[in-house]
């Protein structure tokens, strides 16, 4: 017989399975700056930040197949809406609230469906900076709106660490200053994710202090970031409010990113 207990149990297992798969995802940082919005992350092979519509962009951690599914569905929904109504009527709030969230929730709650292994971050540039918005969407359909700063990472603890780093930023920030802060927030999140993975592989509940690391956080971050950059690549997507194009989205070029990194490390 199937009981409510079994439902809880099944959902619990599902959640655990998904969280396990998300844990090592490279965090994504979203920030507002004086000229628009940015998403920043580090990638190894696959591109991670994508344009959704004229004023919307997106990034996610999780399984590539699920990310692609959500990305393509979002693009399709936005363009159909933009054509049948108007580009002004396309918003991430409607995209996520009306379209994506119910689908994710359904797949998550359905015992016989494969859940989405995904955590997404959407950014939307409004007509004025006050209308800029970030939306995070989780594998179970839960979504949350954020202003100025938003992050996604493999674990709650990593996200907390990142937000701590960003807690004392005072707007308006220049683009370079926002990027600098975003890089260090990413580093904090990635280090935390790594710690979580190693704790689990060694089956330890609480983290043990690693003396040398704790001596100088900033130096440890720098070492970590330098190490990461040997195998990974920085990726930044922008929504530029004053873009002279129909679409506000663009990826930062290789040389711009090199310049940025040279001032940071």
């Amino acid at each position: 017989m199937y009981t409510p207990f079994d439902f809880n149990e099944a959902i619990g297992h599902k959640k655990e399975y998904i969280e396990d798969n998300l844990r090592e995802g490279s965090p994504v940082v979203g920030m507002a700056y004086d000229g628009g919005l940015l998403l920043l992350t580090m990638r190894r092979t696959q591109r991670k930040i994508y344009e959704i519509y004229d004023r919307q962009m997106f990034s996610a951690i999780g399984k590539q197949a699920d990310i692609e599914n959500v990305r393509l569905s979002s693009i399709q929904y936005a363009h159909q809406e933009g054509f049948e109504r108007s580009p002004d009527d396309v918003s991430v709030q409607r995209l996520v609230g009306f379209y994506l969230s119910p689908a994710l929730k359904k797949a998550f709650g359905d015992q016989w469906a494969a859940p989405f292994i995904i955590r997404c971050l959407f950014a939307e540039s409004g007509r004025t900076p006050e209308q800029d918005v970030f939306l995070t969407l989780n594998y179970d359909g839960e979504f949350r709106q954020h202003r100025r700063v938003a992050v996604i990472a493999g674990t709650q603890r990593a996200e907390d660490r990142m937000l701590e780093r960003l807690s004392d930023n005072r707007p308006p920030l220049s683009r370079d200053e926002a990027l600098r802060q975003a890089v260090w927030a990413w580093t904090a999140g990635a280090r935390e994710s790594l710690k979580a993975t190693s704790r689990i592989s060694r089956d330890i509940e609480e983290e043990e202090p690693i003396p040398l690391y704790e001596i100088d956080e900033a130096e440890a971050d720098r070492v970590f970031l330098r190490d990461e950059l040997k195998t990974a690549q920085l990726e930044v997507g922008l929504l530029e409010r004053r873009a002279n194009r129909e679409s506000r989205f663009r990826l930062m070029r290789e040389d711009e990113l090199q310049d940025l990194l040279s001032t940071i490390i």
């Binding site: 994508y50 399709q76 054509f83 129909e246």
Partner: protein, 273 residues
């Protein structure tokens, strides 16, 4: 979540009328409807495209007509469909505008979905498809339109001009193109200019713009549906390697005034007796 291959199949799924024109089956059609009944659609009239040494120039008058009525005297008939492509439209306004919006969205959707821009050939085929889809309606007397597509080919580094017939056949023109009710009257003038002056693609921007405006002026003289520029200036846009640019009102005003002056000077005096 269901995925469609492109905007066309997406709209077919949702039953959008653009992809499913409302057509009365032949067996149910009566003879030609009596005059004065049925839908009269608004038509755009003359649009002209000529090459110049750095790209293409598009000009269009501003008039839109429905039968003998002037519906609108500030119509925009040269419309950007991406950063390097203009669609100049003549014929049914309703359908043409829908097609412009369709193409804009279809190109963007393609690029964002597949992470690469649609090729020029792909864009031309997409336009042929929407023109072709409108044929059944056009046969019943509404919705027919003829587009003129101009673009800057970044690979070949030159402007290109394509024109279509009502069925969606596509032709490329080496020097110039025109569509709309006034285009037939001026067809020979293009050839005259190329043969007696020089090919358009060797002209400077100013030379080519002057010729294009002169052609538009002649079309307005000879075609009742083409608007002159006494009240509202015509529209002119260029496409070069730097993208699409509007010709400024000031520049247009100067050129138009020059053409008008020459016309007056060369006009023969009236002799009625």
């Amino acid at each position: 979540m269901e995925l469609a291959r492109d905007l066309w199949s997406l709209l077919q799924q949702s039953g959008h009328p653009l992809t499913r024109p409302a057509v009365t089956p032949l067996t149910q059609q009566t003879a030609t409807p009596p005059a004065g009944t049925g839908v009269v659609d608004t038509h755009g009239t003359t649009v002209i495209a000529v090459k110049f040494d750095r790209g293409v120039i598009n000009v269009g008058d501003r008039r839109a007509t429905a039968n003998f009525a002037v519906m609108y005297d500030r119509a925009e008939k040269v419309l950007p469909i991406d950063d390097y492509t203009l669609l100049a439209i003549s014929g049914s306004f309703a359908r043409a505008m829908e097609v412009v919006r369709y193409l804009r969205t279809a190109f963007k959707l393609f690029e964002r979905t597949y992470l690469q821009p649609m090729s020029l050939e792909g864009k031309l085929a997409e336009l042929a498809r929407v023109v072709r889809a409108g044929v059944p309606e056009a046969l019943q007397g509404i919705g027919g339109f003829i587009p003129l597509l101009t673009t800057y080919d970044l690979e070949g580094q030159e402007g290109r001009i394509f024109f279509y017939d009502g069925m969606g056949a596509r032709f490329e023109s080496t020097e110039f193109g025109a569509a709309g009710s006034g285009s037939l009257q001026i067809r020979g003038v293009f050839d005259y200019i190329v043969k007696t002056k020089k090919p358009f693609h060797q002209m400077t921007r100013e030379e080519a713009l002057r010729e294009a405006l002169l052609l538009l002026d002649i079309a307005a003289d000879l075609d009742a549906a083409t608007g002159g520029w006494q009240k509202v200036l015509p529209l002119a846009k260029t496409i070069t390697a730097d993208g699409i640019e509007d010709v400024s009102e000031e520049e247009l005003r100067t050129l138009v005034a020059e053409i008008d002056r020459t016309t007056r000077e060369n006009a023969s005096p009236h002799r009625n007796s």
